[in-house]
């Protein structure tokens, strides 16, 4: 009942020509840039990696072998598991979760401060200062972090100068640089949705709660956080999805022994030229992250609609 009404309203507001053009563009974007490429990836993931001559031939049939490879490796008897790849997968998901949680805790106080001291020129300056580093290319930023975290980098120099450590700490091998880089890469995507909702929270509500004797902790737990929840979840969703799917930061900042799942995907596509296998890995990652996000939204009782706000 609701949908047709929305559509007729849409056409009334935009006119028939403009309305059709807009819908056409959105449809083009959805179909050609999102749905079709993903569908072809899905199709790839169920096929064998055949030499060009055999594509379309009798051997070109659907198979689950690409998915089985992630679980069992090249062992066709299914006796041993592909522990290497599975570990990388689990580590990627867990690390992305940690990065997300870390970002939530880091951004919440900042978003609260920025959102509640609205209007002041100082705050606007702060926001601009936060944005400027993001004008710089992601890869450059990652290399910059690598310089900071390197053996003779800024951080180690500072620590040694302060005599907090005698020998340089290997931030890269310990993956500290990787987590810092991932956290930093998408932190604004966490900050801004939070900031936007908190900014719209009526200050009087906070004062009313305070007037009734509430402690700061209670005010945040009962008033601010429930109000900011859609912003927090929408930020968390983006940070989680993007960290899990990040490539530049793990490539540049990851230790030599630790792989990110996207790096495996990349290797299948690029080094092994096995697109079918790569597509299967990519699809597993995509589906898992979507399932995790939907579960979290379910647990925290947030609707898709709230996130779009």
């Amino acid at each position: 009942m609701k949908k047709p009404m929305i559509f007729s309203q849409f056409f009334k507001n935009n006119g028939a020509v403009m309305g059709s053009a807009l819908i056409g563009l959105v449809a083009f974007w959805l179909i050609f840039l999102i749905i079709l490429p993903q569908l072809s990836m899905l199709d790839y993931s169920f096929r064998y990696n055949l030499p060009p001559a055999e594509v379309g031939g009798p051997k070109d049939v659907y198979t689950l072998s690409n998915y089985e490879h992630l679980i069992y490796g090249s062992d066709s008897s299914h006796q041993t598991y592909n522990t290497v790849d599975l570990k990388v997968f689990m580590r990627t998901i867990l690390a992305a979760m940690l990065v997300t949680i870390f970002n939530i805790f880091l951004c919440y106080p900042l978003a609260y401060f920025l959102g509640q001291s609205k209007g002041s020129g100082f705050v606007r300056l702060l926001v601009v200062l936060l944005i400027i580093p993001y004008w710089i290319n992601e890869i450059l930023r990652a290399f910059a972090l690598r310089i900071i975290f390197g053996d003779s980098g800024l951080l180690n120099e500072a620590l040694m100068f302060l005599h907090l450590t005698s020998a340089p700490i290997d931030f890269i091998r310990q993956d500290i640089a990787l987590y810092a880089g991932l956290g930093y890469a998408y932190i604004l995507l966490m900050l801004f949705p939070m900031y936007n909702v908190i900014e719209s929270l009526d200050r009087n509500q906070i004062e009313a709660a305070r007037d009734m004797g509430a402690s700061w902790l209670h005010i945040h737990r009962r008033i601010v956080i429930p109000y900011a929840k859609p912003g927090i979840v929408s930020g968390a969703t983006m940070v989680f999805m993007l960290s899990a799917g990040a490539l530049a930061a793990p490539q540049i900042l990851g230790g030599p022994s630790s792989l990110w799942f996207t790096q495996l995907v990349y290797q299948w596509f690029n080094d092994s030229l096995n697109w079918q296998q790569g597509a299967a890995y990519a699809i597993v990652l995509l589906v898992s992250t979507i399932v995790i996000v939907l579960t979290v939204m379910r647990v925290f009782k947030v609707n898709m609609g709230d996130i779009g706000k």
């Binding site: 009087n204 009313a208 709660a209 305070r210 007037d211 004797g213």
Partner: protein, 370 residues
């Protein structure tokens, strides 16, 4: 019923940077009183209330609640409850959770909270609506929930910042009576802020009239209306006709003002100014529209005004006749509708009379701008 807790403001001055929002305010509010601050927008009413509730500290002076100095005591520790101009109900909590929020803060169990919330809901005639969200209530209902939420904390002093300003006229009038009744029932001190003089006059035991951060007069509603002590109060509270002139003679509490355009007129001196006015001083004299009436031919000239009719308006229960007045302002006379077709004709020269006891004279000063 408690006897209520007194609130005293001693020489309160509040500055924001260079700007002085409240200047040397001295107010003594008796326990259990309904006390109103009345004044135009931006005169510092909310600022005073925030100083009483503890959200800001006065730059100078002291706030005493129940005789106790409140310096350094935060809003969450004061025995006051504030009802905000926009109510500030918590949108994500149910009505009953809103009402019992102060108990939740104090750590009461859900059962206790629900019980008390239901009692208060009955008191505000919203029994059974506790499980709704605030957004599902009407304006007047939200209003009452905000009052119940404030009362739930058992405050000694309830502070209300123009809580009725968002309601329509009918509901506002209804809520006035209701607020007054609630106040009588709970017996605690109410400090009420409004720029609506009708509200201040009907509900309050005492009213403080403010102008640009300065308290001009503190009195009962009756006295504010009948014995304004400054031209600002006379012209801000209710409608008033002003006559400018100089004091011609003084006889005890009465004076003859030689007015710029209506000759010598006899008036009472407003009580606060008796003995302080001198012959020759610039003076203002005020007569309310309802104190003017058509003069019989033999009326005494010192209480008669003659002027040309500019306009007449039918108001239902009365006619308003506007006559040419002093300094571009019109003189307004209000005549009860007793079945007449009309009172006057445009351009007609009318003689109006009044009782000298219904006119008040005071030293000239600034009028409220309308």
């Amino acid at each position: 019923m408690s006897s209520g807790v007194a609130v005293d403001l001693e020489n309160i001055t509040i500055r924001f940077g260079d700007f002085t929002a409240v200047k040397d305010a001295n107010v003594n509010i008796n326990g259990g009183d309904f006390f109103s601050f009345l004044g135009p927008s931006g005169c510092g009413k909310t600022t005073i209330l925030r100083a009483v509730s503890g959200f800001l500290d006065p730059s100078e002076g002291r706030v005493l609640i129940g005789g106790k100095d409140m310096a350094g005591i935060g809003p969450n520790k004061r025995p006051t409850a504030l009802i905000f101009q926009n109510l500030a109900l918590f949108p994500l909590m149910k009505v009953w959770e809103n009402i019992a929020f102060s108990m939740e803060v104090a750590g009461a169990s859900a059962g206790e909270r629900r019980k008390r919330a239901d009692e208060l809901l009955d008191m505000i005639a919203l029994g059974g609506q506790g499980d709704k969200l605030p957004s599902e209530l009407s304006g007047g209902q939200k209003q009452r929930v905000a009052i119940a939420r404030a009362l739930c904390a058992n405050p000694d002093v309830l502070l209300l910042d123009e809580p009725l300003s968002a309601l329509d006229l009918k509901l506002r009038q209804h809520m006035r009576t209701e607020l007054r009744e609630i106040q009588k029932r709970v017996g605690i001190t109410f400090i009420y802020i409004t720029h609506d003089q009708g509200e201040a006059l009907t509900m309050s035991d005492n009213v403080a009239v403010m102008k640009a951060g300065v308290i001009e007069q503190i009195d009962t509603g009756h006295h504010i209306y009948d014995d304004p002590s400054t031209p600002f109060v006379a012209s801000f509270v209710g409608e008033n006709n002003v006559f400018r002139g100089k004091v011609k003679s003084i006889n005890g509490a009465n004076a003859v003002i030689s007015t710029n355009r209506s000759g010598d007129l006899l008036s009472r001196i407003t009580p606060a100014q008796v003995g302080k006015m001198q012959v020759g001083d610039d003076a203002m004299m005020f007569i309310r529209p309802e104190a003017l009436e058509l003069a019989p031919t033999d009326a005494a000239s010192e209480t008669t005004i003659t002027a040309n009719v500019m306009n007449e308006e039918f108001e239902g229960n009365s006619f308003s006749v506007f006559l040419e007045g002093d300094g571009g302002k019109m003189i307004k006379m209000s005549v009860p509708n007793l079945g007449q077709d009309h009172i006057s004709a445009r351009g007609e020269n009318l003689s109006l009379r009044y009782d000298a006891s219904n006119a008040v004279a005071m030293p000239a000063g600034e009028l409220a701008s309308e």
